[in-house]
C-alpha cells in the first residue's frame, strides 16, 4: 500500500510538472483547476480505472468524462504518461491542428466525448452509465465536475435523473477548490450546503481531502460498494495545488505561467518530488 501511495504521489507530481510546462508553452489555459484536480486524475488513471492505453476503445473500459473541460491539461498529461500518445504531443496543446484542443475533443486518443460548455458532462456520463446497464456490463463511469460548474441547472437535471435511474455504476467527483473565475465561490454563488444538496437528490455522498491519495482511494473503493444509487465524492481541494504562488490565487484560474514563473514552479515541484523520496 505504501508503495502504491508513493507511486501515485509521484505520478501526481509528474502530471503537475507537465501541466506547468504545457501551459507555459501554450501561453494560455487553466492551471488553477488543472492542479486542483491532479490527484483525483492521478488516482483514476494510475489505479482506479480499468483501461488499456494500447486499446483506447476497449469496450469493457471504465469511462471518464471531464465535465469541467477547461482542466484538460491534467487529463492530457495523465493520458500521455499512460502511453495513449507520445509525450511530445503535449507541447502542441492549443496550437492549430493539434490533437490536444483547448477543451477536450474525441480526436485525442483516450478522450471519450467533447466537453467545455459547462454543466453538460454529468448528463453525458449518465448516458454512458445507462448504456452499461442496458448492456449488462460492469464497467463504471466517472465524471469530474468543477465547483463553479455545478451552478449550472443542467447538472441538477442530471443529478435528479441519475438517482431516478438508480445508476450505481456512476461516480461523480466534485473538485471543490472554492474559486471560480470571478472570485470565491461562496461570494459569487454559494453552493452550500452542497453535501445536503446531493443527498437530497438521492446520491450517496463521500467527503474527502482531494489531495490525500489514501483518502481518495478509499472513497473510490467505497463508491464501488454502493448499490441502487449514484455516488458523488466531494473533494476539498486547493486551487493551484503544488505551486505556492498559484495556490488560492484566482488569477491563475485562466492565466498561463510566464517562463520565469514556470522555472519557479518547476523548482517547487522538484522539491516536492525530492521530499517524497526522502520520506521513504
Amino acid at each position: 500500500m505504501k508503495k502504491k501511495l508513493k507511486h501515485l504521489r509521484s505520478k501526481s507530481t509528474e502530471i503537475r510538472k507537465l501541466i506547468i510546462k504545457m501551459l507555459t508553452r501554450a501561453k494560455s489555459g487553466h492551471p488553477g483547476g488543472s492542479l486542483s484536480s491532479t490527484d483525483i486524475i492521478s488516482c483514476l488513471y494510475f489505479e482506479v480505472m480499468r483501461h488499456d492505453p494500447k486499446n483506447p476503445k476497449w469496450p469493457k473500459r471504465d469511462r471518464f468524462h471531464l465535465s469541467k473541460g477547461h482542466c484538460c491539461p491534467a487529463v492530457y498529461a495523465a493520458l500521455a504518461l499512460n502511453g495513449y500518445f507520445p509525450e511530445k504531443e503535449l507541447w502542441t496543446l492549443r496550437k492549430l491542428g493539434s490533437v490536444l484542443q483547448g477543451h477536450p475533443d474525441p480526436i485525442t486518443p483516450g478522450i471519450e466525448v467533447a466537453s467545455g460548455s459547462l454543466g453538460q458532462g454529468l448528463s453525458v456520463a449518465l448516458g454512458m452509465a445507462l448504456a452499461a446497464k442496458l448492456d449488462k456490463e460492469d464497467w463504471r463511469t466517472y465524471c469530474l465536475m468543477g465547483d463553479g460548474e455545478i451552478q449550472e441547472g443542467n447538472i441538477w437535471e442530471a443529478a435528479m435523473a441519475a438517482a431516478h435511474f438508480k445508476l450505481d455504476n456512476l461516480c461523480g467527483i466534485l473538485d471543490y477548490n472554492h474559486f471560480q473565475i470571478d472570485g470565491r465561490v461562496e461570494e459569487i454563488m454559494n453552493l452550500e450546503p452542497v453535501v445536503n444538496k446531493w443527498e437530497s437528490f438521492g446520491w450517496h455522498t463521500i467527503q474527502c481531502d482531494g489531495h490525500n491519495i489514501e483518502e481518495l482511494l478509499e472513497s473510490f473503493s467505497e463508491a464501488k460498494t454502493i448499490k441502487q444509487k449514484p455516488t458523488i465524492i466531494i473533494t476539498q481541494t486547493v486551487k493551484g495545488k503544488g505551486v505556492s504562488f498559484m495556490e488560492h490565487v484566482v488569477d491563475f484560474h485562466g492565466r498561463a505561467p510566464t517562463e520565469k514563473e514556470e522555472k519557479i514552479a518547476l523548482g517547487e515541484l522538484q522539491d516536492i518530488e525530492k521530499n517524497e523520496e526522502d520520506i521513504q
Binding site: Q120, N154, A161
Partner: protein
C-alpha cells in the same frame, strides 16, 4: 384523400426499427404520448427512458449513450428540442458528431391553440448553421417514414421536424433521397420551392395558377441540410420566377437557404411566403395559416405579382 398524423407514423416506424435493431434507444421528456414514442415504450420498456421535463439533460445524455454504440432517438416538441436544449445540441451532440436523432413534433405555427410559446418557427434557423447535423422537414406521413429510416441508417446527428396536425398525403409524391429535392410538375412560368406542409399549399396554388394559364414547377425541398444546391440552380435557370414557402420565419430557414445558393451562383429575384419577423398566437391551424399569409391563395398572389 388520405390524411395521417406524421407522428403516428414516426411512432410505428420506431417500433419496426426497434424490433430489428436492439441498439436503438429512445428518450422523451414527458411528452411521449404526444410524440408517439409511447408506442416504443410499450413494446420495449427497457430501451425507453423518460427524462421528465428536462430537455437539456435528455439531449446531452443521448450523446453519452451514443458514445457507447447506441442509436438514440430523442423526442419532444420542436420548441424545447431546439431552443431549450440548443447548447446541448450544438456542443454535445453536433460537436461530437453523435449518433443522435432528434425527432421533434409540434413544429411550426400549426401547433395552433397553445400559442406563441409553443410554436417553433425559428427551429430550422437555430440548427442550420451548426456543422454535422442533417435537417429534414417531411412533407407528409410517408415521407416521414422514409426520413426516419434514412436518419436511422445514416450515422451522425439528425433533426426531423414534424407537425402536430394530420397531414394529407402528397399527390404524385416521389422517392425520398436524403439531401435531394424533387420536382412536381414542369411548368416554366414560376417555381414554387417548399418544405413540410407548405408543399401541400404549393400544390393547391399550382392548381389555381393553372386555371389562370400560369404553369408552375413545385420543388419539394424536404432536406434543408444537406441542401440540394444543384437542383435550386437548375430550377432558377429554367423558370422565370421563384417563390419559397415555409412554415417558419423568413430568416434562417428554407428561403435563406435558397437565397444563399442563388446569390453566389445564379442571382434571380426570389419571393417568399413565410412568417415575417412576428411571433405566433393562439388560433386554429387553419386560421393561423390565413392570418400569417401562408395559404395557397397568398402563394398565387405572390406569383401573379412577380409575373405582372
Amino acid at each position: 384523400m388520405e390524411s395521417l398524423y406524421a407522428r403516428d407514423v414516426y411512432g410505428k416506424t420506431l417500433v419496426e426499427l426497434g424490433r430489428k435493431d436492439k441498439t436503438i434507444v429512445v428518450l422523451d421528456a414527458d411528452l411521449s404520448g404526444s410524440t408517439r414514442t409511447s408506442f416504443f415504450r410499450k413494446e420495449f420498456p427497457d430501451r425507453f427512458f423518460n427524462f421528465g421535463v428536462a430537455e437539456q439533460n435528455m439531449v446531452a445524455a443521448a450523446a453519452g449513450l451514443s458514445s457507447c454504440g447506441k442509436i438514440v432517438f430523442v423526442s419532444t416538441f420542436a420548441m424545447f428540442a431546439t431552443a431549450r436544449a440548443l447548447d446541448q445540441v450544438r456542443n454535445t451532440v453536433c460537436l461530437n458528431n453523435a449518433n443522435v436523432k432528434i425527432v421533434a413534433t409540434h413544429g411550426g405555427l400549426t401547433v395552433g391553440e397553445d400559442g406563441a410559446s409553443h410554436q417553433a418557427i425559428e427551429d430550422i434557423n437555430f440548427l442550420r448553421a451548426i456543422p454535422n447535423i442533417k435537417i429534414i422537414v417531411p412533407a407528409d406521413a410517408h415521407e416521414t417514414k422514409d426520413a426516419v429510416i434514412a436518419a436511422y441508417k445514416t450515422p451522425g446527428p439528425f433533426y426531423l421536424r414534424l407537425g402536430r396536425s394530420k397531414i394529407p398525403t402528397l399527390e404524385n409524391r416521389k422517392n425520398f433521397v436524403l439531401g435531394k429535392g424533387y420536382l412536381l410538375g414542369g411548368g416554366a412560368d414560376v417555381a414554387i420551392v417548399a418544405c413540410g406542409i407548405m408543399v401541400q399549399e404549393a400544390q393547391e396554388a399550382a392548381k389555381i395558377l393553372k386555371r389562370d394559364g400560369i404553369n408552375s414547377t413545385i420543388v419539394n425541398m424536404h432536406s434543408l441540410k444537406p441542401f440540394d444546391e444543384e437542383l435550386i440552380v437548375d430550377v432558377a435557370k429554367n423558370c422565370k420566377t421563384m417563390i419559397v414557402c415555409e412554415e417558419h420565419q423568413v430568416t434562417g430557414g428554407l428561403y435563406s437557404a435558397v437565397c444563399e445558393v442563388l446569390a453566389h451562383t445564379y442571382p434571380v429575384k426570389v419571393e417568399r411566403v413565410g412568417i415575417e419577423d412576428k411571433f405566433g398566437q393562439s388560433g386554429s391551424p387553419k386560421e393561423l395559416m390565413e392570418f400569417y399569409g401562408l395559404t395557397a391563395n397568398f402563394i398565387v398572389e405572390k406569383a401573379k405579382q412577380l409575373l405582372r
